[in-house]
């Protein structure tokens, strides 16, 4: 196990190198410049030139990359050009809402997806299944922003049960915090629930057709025990894969949801940084998101072994 983790971590190094080089090249090749973006209404060329020199932006791009890499190897992600604070501090502030939102959305999606998915598979091709499939399609194809605006309109403006936007840390004020995250978590959770429902249904149908299920039934086990004891566990692997992939997306890619609900998350941080051409911030955050993706995939691989002991790693 330890060796597996180590080997996987070593294998991520070239991936991360490619990610950093790619992001560096892309953001620097995009027209525009952080100093112009920051001082749109000022034309003082000397001030701008001084700032560019101070920040090393007048150097050729490969030199800038080397300098950035050198600092990175010493554990320094640099400072945001726009707010002068260390990149890591920017991320630290933004990661909390993102993680909380991701966790909350995931809980909601699991609570919805498991009963719906199981029911669909068990009652295959009945009206119940068809309703559930429609729900899943709805969740997959409804754009996030539309669900978000509808939820806001219903629960925020009309019923006034929940706050419309903004963020309160649930670890500081549990009730207000959960209330502030509920609508965005439902928005993200519904889409995720739809994906999980579909995956769970199809992998369960596959498992239901296996010989051991026929055997279990022949033994006289109740259908409930067959599903709980035999089918579900064997159907979990694809679901865990989907969850692992979605976790990364939820943390770094919930841009639209964060934007609509004015949540200060990592997704908006990246997008705002791109618009401001805040090079160090873009590079640093994307690197961290990439690390997050790799770790969540690693976690999924380890979970495989736990769920299905037949999968052995050497």
């Amino acid at each position: 196990m330890g060796r597996l983790v180590l080997r996987r971590l070593v294998a991520t190094v070239p991936v991360l190198l490619l990610v950093t080089a790619g992001v560096f090249a892309l953001i620097h090749l995009t027209p525009g410049d952080p100093i112009d973006a920051m001082m749109a209404e000022s034309v003082d060329a000397t001030v701008k030139a001084t700032l560019r020199r101070q920040l090393g932006l007048d150097q050729p791009i490969h030199v800038q990359y080397a300098v950035w890499m050198g600092r990175l190897l010493q554990g320094d992600l640099g400072r945001s050009i726009r707010n002068q604070e260390p990149v890591i501090e920017n991320v630290r502030r933004r990661i909390r809402p993102s993680l909380q939102l991701a966790a909350f959305a995931m809980v909601i999606s699991l609570v919805v997806a498991f009963p719906v998915g199981i029911l669909s598979a068990a009652r295959r091709n009945t009206p119940v299944d068809r309703i559930n499939t429609t729900f899943a399609l709805f969740g997959i194809y409804m754009p996030n922003f539309l669900i978000a605006l509808l939820l806001i309109f219903l629960f925020g403006v009309t019923l006034r049960w929940l706050p419309i936007s903004g963020y309160v840390d649930p670890f500081e004020e549990p009730l207000d915090g959960l209330r502030s995250l509920l609508l965005p978590a439902i928005t993200l959770g519904l889409a995720l629930a739809a994906v999980i429902t579909r995956t769970l249904r199809s992998s369960m149908l596959e498992a239901l057709a296996e010989d051991y299920v026929r055997t279990a039934r022949a033994k006289g086990l109740s259908e409930g025990r067959v599903i709980r004891g035999h089918v579900l566990k064997n159907a979990l692997i694809p679901v865990v894969t989907v969850l692992g992939l979605q976790l990364g997306t939820l943390i770094g890619g919930a841009v639209i949801t964060e934007y609509v609900f004015a949540l200060p998350g990592v997704g908006r941080l990246v997008v705002d940084a791109v618009f401001a051409r805040d090079y160090p911030l873009v590079q640093g955050v994307i690197l961290l998101i990439a690390v997050g993706f790799i770790l969540s995939n690693l976690l999924v691989d380890l979970l495989y072994g736990w769920i299905d002991p037949r999968i052995r790693y050497r």
Partner: protein, 532 residues
């Protein structure tokens, strides 16, 4: 009124004796401002009953502030907060006249000297005195701090002398008729020297004790809110501040911001999109204030390369445009068609000059004159925002009618700035927020300037240059107005830009908000605002 204006004419203008008197007299003496088609800025109706102290005013903004240091600030949103924490030496009234602020009175013994009498008894929030030394310190910082974004604005100030503890003398490098108007904003805002000396670098994030204004900085939780609280020892005992606190929150999505206002989560919304104006006005639970702006939304035409280096083709483009249709169809009449860079809110606006009228026959004649009788094609660079895209599509259709083919290239703001600065465009959108003095809407755009400047079109015209220089040297307002009229006419002929609209910037309020007075610079000053 007319007599006031005339009496000012005769006297003012021999600027050598141009003397503004102090607080009481100043409003009577302030230049008479003529108002544009959409009338005077509105204020929230005053209800019966006296203002009430207390409460937290919650304000929704589209974006988070960038810095709390007015000398380093380059973003419009910062100014919204500053105008409640900091105070400039002079302030604007609702008609863009200049009134005493931290300076009680001022005089100009000659064109290159400005002497200001400062208000005694004013303290910064950190308890230190506001005085002439503080003013000198502030100007020096704006001029010398490497990261100062104010350098250009105070460039005409050669040196600052302290005459006595409450009198300063600004020695100017050259006559600068626009200087007083410049000092109504960030360049005139005074920051506590003690705060700068003791924790200058921290000021960007924490403005505790730094200002003299009706509210003081309390906290800024990044990405969440900025909190100001009432300054109970504010020097001006007339009126407010009434509010206990002001809480600013960024809500990036316009629809959600409007819904937050409807649900009562915020009391004030900084800007209502034209598409929402009708609905908001119809909502009895909201109050809309139309604030005519100083802005000038236009397209710069690149004079340094084809097709628009040919004057006749620029004119063909201008004659093919139907501004009425754009203002009505795209902007839903939340603004007026522009005749040039100077907005109707300005004293320098000349209502006798009509915007260029659509004339397809003339457009075709100009195409022939420019050697392209069957039309030509070019690319428009414009921001990828809904209203800009709509406007581009309408323009595309209008130009198509005379055979001009316009391709649309959508970019983000940073790309737009870079393409503009590098003159890498044929026609490019430019939305200028505007400045109280017409100089701010003209000089930097049309004066011949090598290298990077806001003169993206690359226009270089000796007649325009001479006019622009003259507008800075002459201090008589009527005379300056004549010069700006002349300039506007030349601009309509030379067309460094096609001018589209002077937008209105509607702001929406909860009916609980009382006592708000709108000033056309769009900044929200909450000193006299209270909650019902």
């Amino acid at each position: 009124m007319a007599s006031t204006e005339r009496s000012l004419d005769t006297r003012a203008i021999s600027r050598r004796v141009f003397l503004w008197s102090c607080a009481t007299g100043a409003s009577a003496l302030a230049p008479v401002v003529r108002f544009g088609p959409h009338g005077a800025p509105m204020a929230l109706a005053q209800p019966a009953g006296a203002p009430k102290k207390g409460g937290t005013l919650r304000v929704g903004f589209y974006i988070e502030a960038a810095t709390m240091d007015p000398h380093l600030s380059g973003s419009k949103i910062d100014r919204q907060v500053y105008h409640n924490i900091y105070e400039p030496l002079v302030v604007l009234d609702t008609k863009l006249g200049i009134k005493p602020g931290l300076a009680e009175s001022w005089q100009q013994p000659d064109a290159k000297t400005l002497i200001m009498k400062l208000r005694p008894g004013v303290k910064f929030h950190d308890g230190t005195d506001f005085n002439a030394e503080a003013v000198k310190f502030n100007f020096n910082r704006m001029k010398t701090e490497p990261k100062s974004v104010r350098k250009n604005e105070v460039a005409s100030i050669e040196s600052v002398e302290v005459l006595d503890p409450y009198t300063i003398k600004l020695n100017l490098r050259r006559p600068d008729a626009a200087l007083l108007a410049t000092l109504t904003d960030r360049a005139g805002m005074m920051v506590s020297p003690k705060v700068i000396q003791e924790r200058g670098s921290e000021l960007e994030r924490n403005a505790k004790g730094a200002g003299t204004g009706p509210f003081q900085f309390a906290e800024w939780i990044k990405d969440d809110h900025i909190l100001l609280k009432r300054n109970d020892t504010y020097w001006n005992k007339q009126g407010g501040p009434y509010l206990d606190q002001i809480r600013y929150r960024p809500i990036p999505d316009d629809t959600v911001k409007l819904q937050s206002l409807q649900a009562g989560e915020i009391h004030v919304m900084d800007y209502v999109q034209p598409r929402d104006v009708a609905a908001v006005k119809a909502d009895k639970n909201l109050v809309v204030v139309d604030v005519p702006s100083l802005a000038d939304f236009s397209y710069q035409l690149n004079h340094t390369k084809p097709p628009f280096q040919t004057k006749a083709l620029r004119q063909a483009l201008a004659y093919a445009l139907d501004l009425q249709q754009i203002v009505k169809g795209v902007w839903l009449n939340v603004g007026v068609p522009a005749n040039g860079p100077i907005p109707p809110t300005s004293w320098a606006y000349d209502s006798t000059i009509p915007p260029i009228k659509r004339d397809l026959a003339k457009a075709k004649a100009k195409l022939a004159e420019g050697g392209r009788p069957t039309g030509f094609s070019f690319t428009l660079t414009t921001p990828n925002l809904p209203i800009n895209v709509q406007e581009a599509e309408v323009i595309q259709a209008q130009l198509g009618e005379v055979g001009i083919t316009m391709k649309i290239k959508l970019v983000d703001a940073a790309t737009q700035l870079s393409e503009g600065n590098n003159k890498n465009f044929e026609m490019i959108s430019y939305q200028w927020s505007g400045r109280p003095d017409p100089d701010g809407n003209t000089f930097q755009f049309f004066k011949t300037s090598p290298g990077t400047s806001l003169n993206w079109s690359g226009i270089s015209n000796p007649q325009i240059d001479a006019l622009l220089d003259k507008t800075r040297e002459v201090s008589s307002q009527p005379e300056r107005k004549k010069l700006f009229s002349e300039l506007t006419k030349i601009l309509q002929d030379e067309l460094p830009m096609v001018f589209i609209i002077h937008p209105i910037e509607p702001k929406a309020f909860s009916p609980r908000v009382q006592g708000y007075e709108a000033i056309p610079d769009g900044m929200m000053r909450f000193k006299d605002v209270w909650l019902k």
